[in-house]
Symmetry: C2
Subunit: 92 residues, 2 copies
């Protein structure tokens, strides 16, 4: 079974998401995918770096990074293009 654990990065401090990742990995997850849109993209890179280089150094690694464009409808029904990122982190 290759269940994917997805964590959506929003407006909380990066360490909150780092902790969520640590908990998931310690509960047996083999892979976590961090997803974010718009301005949260910078924070997503922070989360991946803090996790892989500090909290779980030599235990997990970034295996894939993808970028994308998502179309969203705003409150006035207008279509907006928003950049998105997906960072895959795996247990070594």
């Amino acid at each position: 079974m290759t269940e994917k654990n997805i964590i959506f990065i929003g407006n909380k401090p990066a360490t909150a998401y780092v902790m969520a990742c640590v908990i998931q990995f310690n509960s047996g997850a083999k892979t976590i995918v961090l997803k974010a849109r718009g301005r949260a993209i910078s924070r997503t890179v922070d989360v991946a770096e803090i996790l892989c280089k500090r909290f779980m150094k030599d235990l997990v690694e970034v295996t894939n990074i993808q970028i994308n464009t998502e179309q969203l409808e705003n409150s006035e029904g207008k279509l907006l293009n928003l950049s998105a990122i997906e960072i895959t982190i795996k247990k070594i």
Copy 2:
């Protein structure tokens, strides 16, 4: 000769950097590397997406994305960890 054209993404609007990329590709560049740190990371993804999916659709593509941590010294001499991104874009 595999000269690398590096564009540092800062605080200007994304389209300013998209234009810089278009000009470099039209002047013969085969590869451009977008680099950014901290909050400019989100804008860097915007630049790559706008360039590859709109301005130079089917002409260029993202071939590599790397994330990193850079250490900077602030004005008080304290070391800061700052996330960084490098997006490589190539002519198809």
